[in-house]
Subunit: 485 residues, 2 copies
């Protein structure tokens, strides 16, 4: 055994220091299974220690299952590192990413998941689109190994649409991905190294935090007012020198806010001055229920620094994983390589079906219905907040999308409130799932798009009721109570 | 302008040194767009240089598009770096991964891609499976946002099948992925950090090299004889301490070789002794055309160190991206988190269709047809090699799968040969696409499964002919000539 001298001035007792040194040697494999430890008397002499100290260390090693004594023979190493096999727990400890709470079951009025209502799915139109694809002469090609860039007819269609909308310049290209989420993943892979900073809205949806955090990126939050705050972004660019910026300018998740045109220009200018790529994550842009559409950052950007991410998921069928990234050719080529390395290509059956669904006009018809329903649901949640939430509560006023951000008055904690409202059959995600660096204990997200109007109203009513009851309880106990009407 | 003194003893002429200093200031943004450069006379005086030197430097700046002269006003900076924006090329230089040559067009007899023949796709059976899914009462659920673990009925089906085959123990779990490739990607994400070593067969298929190389892993090649060599693996484990091992025990890509039972036990023992996870990549296992099936490593492993990857792609429709990973619950849980971060979940339409295709017995019927065709094609490629390739050429003798490994006698180079055979309408991938650390310039992969028997025979015949012609040419020129009958 190769021991370093013990520290007689340490707070840790000598026997524990000795235990830790020997345990480390066993765990690292320096002391192999079956090796005999020196007798306590012998080691005490070598180290100039009391024999009782050695005995205490050996006892501790034995109680940790690292050594075993054999009568008349001494103590032998039996530690698990010497029993071969994979230590999965040890290997998996690092890179721990946060996970989102499971969505509540159907018995709940669940404001948890930002997704469309499946009751609105146009199943007959979907079946018709599938039938058209299945009848095609090139069906075998659709089922064969495809291109990392995407199913070519879909890719071409999306690029043409983008050109018509003034989104795609002559230097741009497009790649089909498994939804916006994979586009973010691929972009992060080609642009980031562990430790690189990324600027993003704060609060931001958990999927982005988990993705980038899991890659070892530093998350730099930029406050959200009406979308990402341009002055905040400029400060973040100066201080943290992020490698990229991710912004959701339309109906941002979780706040539901939209970036006004002036702020869009300011954001672009800030990104360009710093020479930092701007990733425009736009899954919700087509779900506008009121007000005027704002031009995409990608459209305003004449200097090729923006990448636009869109998806079929939020406006049609989230179970089909098809989105796309539009940006400078040099980047898209690298995304193609990363896509091929990651999963070869996006599922072609779904790509062909969604192209048929879009090209036949069924998507636009469906979008109209989704927007009509969204308009009613948005009105319902805003009215319910006004009618049922106690005074002092504030909430955002989105003009589209799926999410609303509610801020309870101090000292309410949205996490504690959740425990209480879940007992009454209502659930949502508290603000902590979305926070980057600013704590907002009183904030919560209401994802309203998947719920029918009466369920929305009932759910918010229950939240309001529970708040009032908790307030009364607190008042009875003499605890601090938020101001309420 | 802030210029450092020029070096009069340098080999670079003074005007070029001056050009480079100013160009750097323009590119870095120190000299902004629109800034006026000093007049040549003025700068010559400041620097104590001949005015012609300054003029030459300015002309060079102008020819590089960095400045422009305006009559009567002087020279102004117009360089692009001073118009701020994203330097994509600079950002994308790192992490460059190799890419696979594009597959040859249909006019080629292409041995390039390891994929099934789409002429064998049972399109009517596929349509019937789709029709059954589209008629289901839970269709809307299939189209709704799903679980990162996979479409639950498919996940359960696969896990039950794995239990029946003795592959899944009580501590195992299963996650559905976008084919084996994504399973490898997710495993690498949770187990590796940049710089970690991974042991793999050498040669190995390019998709694995690109994936792991792109992540910054060190690739440690283990020689392939009949599959991965166990003694070679033990040496690699000692020397390189890899964080994981990836092996394809059945019909390895590119060699087509299969690991015998004894070598399987030896591989497992080596992995276990080192405590290193063993990833069993098995996309081809069900495509056995001759001989006896070998038990999966996952089945032989009683100590939970193996993860088994399988896929529907190679045995049914590669355009549908559905595979799975079976392994210890702790790992699968982390893969679930990584999957959610990466792309939320695998496409559910394809999962539901493939479950229907498998559960209805259509998959097994199709597999029988694929095996029958594969048997003929394997025989055809082996016979053609025997009949047409020159003496001294060696090739593997697979019992299944899609690939054959051919080694030309020295000094043939399979890359140079490719140029010649492509002119005759035949293509394949030369060995360099597959090499990890051992160079095999004379090696090439023939992917035979996607070609009909007569095309296989014709293709190999052309390769043989070209080899003979090249040999005659070389002999005429007096160049070294490989021994041939």
């Amino acid at each position: 055994m190769d021991l370093v001298p013990l520290n007689h001035h340490s707070e840790a007792p000598l026997y524990r220091q000795l235990f830790e040194q020997i345990a480390e040697q066993i765990r690292s494999g320096k002391l192999g299974r079956g090796e005999r430890l020196p007798a306590t008397r012998e080691l005490a002499g070598q180290l100039g220690l009391n024999r009782a100290t050695i005995s205490a260390a050996y006892e501790m090693l034995e109680s940790h299952g690292l050594i075993a004594g054999q009568v008349g023979r001494g103590s032998f190493v039996i530690g698990r590192r010497t029993s071969p096999g994979v230590d999965w727990d040890g290997r998996l400890q690092r890179n721990e990413a946060g996970t989102v709470a499971p969505a509540a079951g159907k018995q709940f009025i669940s404001f948890v998941v930002s997704r469309p209502s499946d009751a609105l799915f146009p199943l007959d139109d979907f079946r018709a689109a599938c039938a058209a694809v299945l009848a095609r002469a090139d069906l075998a090609e659709i089922l064969q190994l495809g291109s990392p860039s995407g199913y070519e007819p879909l890719r071409r269609h999306l690029l043409e649409e983008a050109r018509k909308e003034g989104l795609a310049g002559s230097d741009d290209d497009l790649i089909v991905t498994n939804g916006c989420q994979q586009a973010l993943d691929l972009i992060a892979r080609v642009l980031l190294r562990p430790g690189d900073a990324v600027a993003m809205e704060d609060p931001v949806y958990a999927g982005l935090k988990n993705l980038l955090g899991g890659m070892g990126a530093r998350l730099v939050g930029v406050p959200v007012e009406e979308g990402m705050d341009a002055a905040g972004l400029r400060r973040a660019l100066e201080r943290e020198q992020p490698r990229m910026i991710v912004a959701t300018p339309n109906f941002q998740n979780p706040t539901g806010t939209t970036l006004p045109i002036g702020a869009r220009e300011a954001l672009l200018e800030a990104a360009h001055s710093a020479g930092v790529p701007l990733i425009e994550n736009d899954p919700y842009g087509e779900l506008r229920y009121a007000g005027e559409p704002q031009p995409a950052l990608k459209r305003l950007d004449r200097r090729g620094g923006t990448v636009l991410l869109r998806s079929f998921s939020k406006v049609s069928f989230p179970g089909l994983r098809v989105g796309w990234a539009l940006g400078p050719r040099a980047l898209i080529e690298r995304l193609r390589q990363a896509k091929e390395a990651s999963d070869l290509h996006t599922d072609q059956l779904s790509q062909a079906v969604l192209l048929e669904f879009a090209g036949s006009g069924r998507l636009e018809a469906h979008r109209e219905r989704v927007r009509a329903a969204g308009r009613e649901r948005l009105a319902a949640v805003l009215n319910a907040c006004r009618d049922f939430l106690p005074a002092g509560t504030r909430w955002t006023h989105p003009e589209g999308g799926m999410n609303l951000w509610v801020r309870l008055p101090r000292p309410w904690d949205a996490g504690e409130l959740l425990t209480a409202v879940q007992k009454r059959g209502v659930s949502y995600l508290p603000g902590r799932y979305f926070e980057v660096s600013r704590r907002e204990p009183g904030a919560l997200r209401l994802s309203f798009a998947g719920l029918e109007v009466d369920r929305i109203r009932q759910g918010v009513r229950i939240i309001g009721q529970v708040l009032r009851e908790l307030r009364e309880e607190a008042a009875e106990k003499g605890e601090p109570v938020p101001a309420m009407v």
